[in-house]
């Protein structure tokens, strides 16, 4: 239950990446890192200080960075590339597609400042399409952890997984609530709160908001289940189907476009195996804008209140299914 996940502090998920990268470097001497002129933003300085000979600065040249990473991986290294999510995906999609994904290279594409919560820099940098682009690539693992601890654990876990990975995290200071000793299992969702009326499936920063929504829903007498999906691909089908079969309706929540995101993956699963009413908390075919992260999440419909509203909409549709069923 969410009481088992008390907020213990506040830190950015990118800090979890930086600390996880240092630890991965200490644990595995094949881990190397590359950065495209954003060391401070990606929190990679500790790794560079400890392992200067295992770090490659590529400057503002992300296409070259992806190619160099593919070459390092070819020779047996485990490269972690670091830049903003926008420049980790859309800018270099073909380099990732051909030199990394199709060539099945063991490259870890680590992407910070994803989504609206990048904030004041505005829409040029606020990518909301990256999960969709990356999950479409055959063989690509897509991970979007929810807090500092989960990001650190994910950063360590992907070193032990052979194959290309997209690891997405963010800029703002964010509540820490996942236990720091919880093992990170790629492809395994985490049941954070059991309920009977509705299943909320959340990823990334929106897991914290889903926890807030659960409390508000309890005040309304609604019992919501919460699944923390850190791995969007491969998707943990079992945990989702088990929950949906129990609650009969689903709400997905993510800091991404509705098109191509976690919600799409869940909808595809449910359509194939267990048609279920579903509502989306996601950005609806829109670019972002400059602003404070929390304000932007409200304006673009990603607040805890939006999750509550979506739950109520999903419950109404469940009743209709019951009525006509």
């Amino acid at each position: 239950m969410i009481n088992d996940f008390p907020v213990t502090g506040k830190k950015a998920t990118r800090d979890g990446f930086g600390d996880g990268l240092l630890a991965a470097g200490q644990q595995n001497d094949q881990v190397v890192a590359l950065c495209a002129d954003l060391l401070g933003s990606l929190k990679m300085n500790a790794f560079v200080k400890s392992f200067p000979e295992r770090f490659v600065q590529v400057g503002v040249a992300e296409a070259n960075m992806m190619g160099i990473a593919a070459g390092l991986a070819t020779a047996g290294k485990i490269p972690y590339t670091g830049t903003f999510a926008n420049f980790s995906t859309g800018r270099v999609y073909d380099q990732i597609r051909q030199s990394i994904a199709y060539s099945h290279k063991n490259v870890k594409i680590c992407a910070s400042h994803a989504g609206l919560t990048l904030g004041e820099d505005g829409a040029t940098h606020q990518i909301l399409e990256d999960i969709g682009m990356m999950k479409m690539l055959p063989g690509m693992t897509v991970i979007n952890p929810c807090d500092y601890n989960q990001t650190k654990a994910a950063t360590l876990a992907i070193a032990e997984h052979y194959g290309p990975v997209y690891l997405r995290f963010g800029r703002p200071s964010w509540p820490i609530f996942m236990p720091d000793n919880l093992p990170f299992v790629i492809g395994k969702g985490i049941m954070m709160h059991e309920g009977t009326d509705v299943t909320i499936i959340a990823t990334g920063h929106l897991v914290a908001y889903a926890m807030d929504a659960i409390k508000k829903l309890e005040e309304q007498g609604i019992s919501a289940e919460l699944i923390n999906i850190h791995t969007i691909k491969p998707l943990d089908e079992e945990i989702i189907l088990d929950s949906a079969s129990k609650t009969g309706c689903v709400v997905t929540a993510e800091e991404h476009q509705r098109n191509g995101g976690l919600g799409d993956s869940v909808a595809q699963l449910l359509a194939r195996k267990m048609p279920t009413p579903q509502e989306y908390v996601a950005v609806n075919d829109s670019f972002g804008e400059s602003g404070v992260p929390e304000q932007l999440l409200v304006k673009y419909g990603l607040s805890p209140e939006n999750i509550v509203t979506a739950v109520n909409d999903a419950l109404k549709r469940k009743e209709m299914v019951g009525h006509f069923g």
Binding site: V58, I68, A69, T74, S99, S103
Partner: protein, 280 residues
């Protein structure tokens, strides 16, 4: 000393393979393949230290990356003729269920290929990554790359050029297939490359020039390039070739970049190429 006559004799067979492969599937890229044959034969049969069976990570051996993946026919022929896979497999080029895809890939597990190429401009970056890994590992072997000249129109190549000089990468030898032709016509008309030698020099590279269709010159220039490694500077060979060389009706024209000969043209071409190792 290399036996130039022997290398020329292998090159003749490789060129026969190229014509026959492209003819049998009625697709593929004969022009650049024929033009780069002398370089590829010199590399695999004389210059490069490489080992069988194929090992992806390439520790303790030289590595080769083909950036202009469309000239796959010459690479496939050279790989099979050096023992990476049976020459009979050349007959499967571009057919369904083949390891010999239109453009080279690791996806079907073809020995000798370390990364997919075809979408242009990516190979130099990948080769730089492999060269950096060799440096990190204390491995003294070299990394070779072949790129097209039209391919230099891709911006990523210039990112890569800049970075290799910045890293003082001196275990990499790049060859540019400077045939002056690309799909839509001569490079000077499509997108001028300008003073290519000055451009590479300005980006910090040691530049060598050679006639890529003269085996003796190819071998001596590659040997010179090897002798220049280890000097904190990357090396590029600007290799003047003729697209389609030496087939009289193909040579020097962009027309043969990406079309296959018909039966009559195949026969006419094969008459100009001696069978030396036996057709596949």
């Amino acid at each position: 000393m290399a036996n130039i006559q022997e290398l020329n004799s292998i090159a003749s067979q490789v060129r026969r393979d190229i014509i026959r492969m492209v003819h049998q599937c009625q697709s593929g890229h004969p022009g650049g393949s024929l033009g780069c044959t002398d370089f590829m034969v010199a590399l695999y049969f004389h210059i490069m230290e490489h080992k069988l069976p194929f090992n992806m990570e390439g520790h303790g051996e030289d590595m080769f990356f083909l950036s202009n993946g469309h000239i796959s026919p010459v690479w496939y022929s050279v790989l099979s003729r050096s023992g990476y896979f049976p020459t009979s497999e050349l007959a499967t080029f571009r057919h369904i269920n083949s390891r010999l895809q239109g453009h080279p890939t690791t996806h079907e597990g073809l020995p000798g290929v370390r990364v997919a190429s075809g979408s242009l401009g990516q190979g130099l970056s990948v080769a730089i990554g492999a060269a950096l890994a060799k440096r990190m590992n204390g491995d003294d072997n070299l990394v070779y790359v072949l790129t097209g000249d039209g391919e230099l129109e891709e911006g990523q190549v210039w990112e890569a050029m800049m970075s290799a000089a910045h890293y003082k990468l001196d275990n990499i030898i790049v060859a540019v297939d400077w045939n002056g032709q690309q799909i839509d016509g001569p490079t000077d008309l499509v997108m001028s490359l300008g003073d290519l030698e000055a451009k590479w020099k300005a980006f910090g590279w040691h530049v060598l020039l050679m006639n890529g269709n003269n085996m003796e010159e190819v071998v001596s220039t590659l040997e010179k390039a090897k002798s220049l490694t280890g000097n904190k500077q990357p090396i590029v060979i600007l290799m003047k070739t003729d697209m389609g060389y030496p087939i009289d009706f193909m040579v020097g024209s962009h027309h043969w970049h990406g079309i296959a000969p018909n039966d009559e043209q195949r026969d006419k071409a094969l008459l100009q190429l001696e069978t030396t190792l036996g057709d596949y």
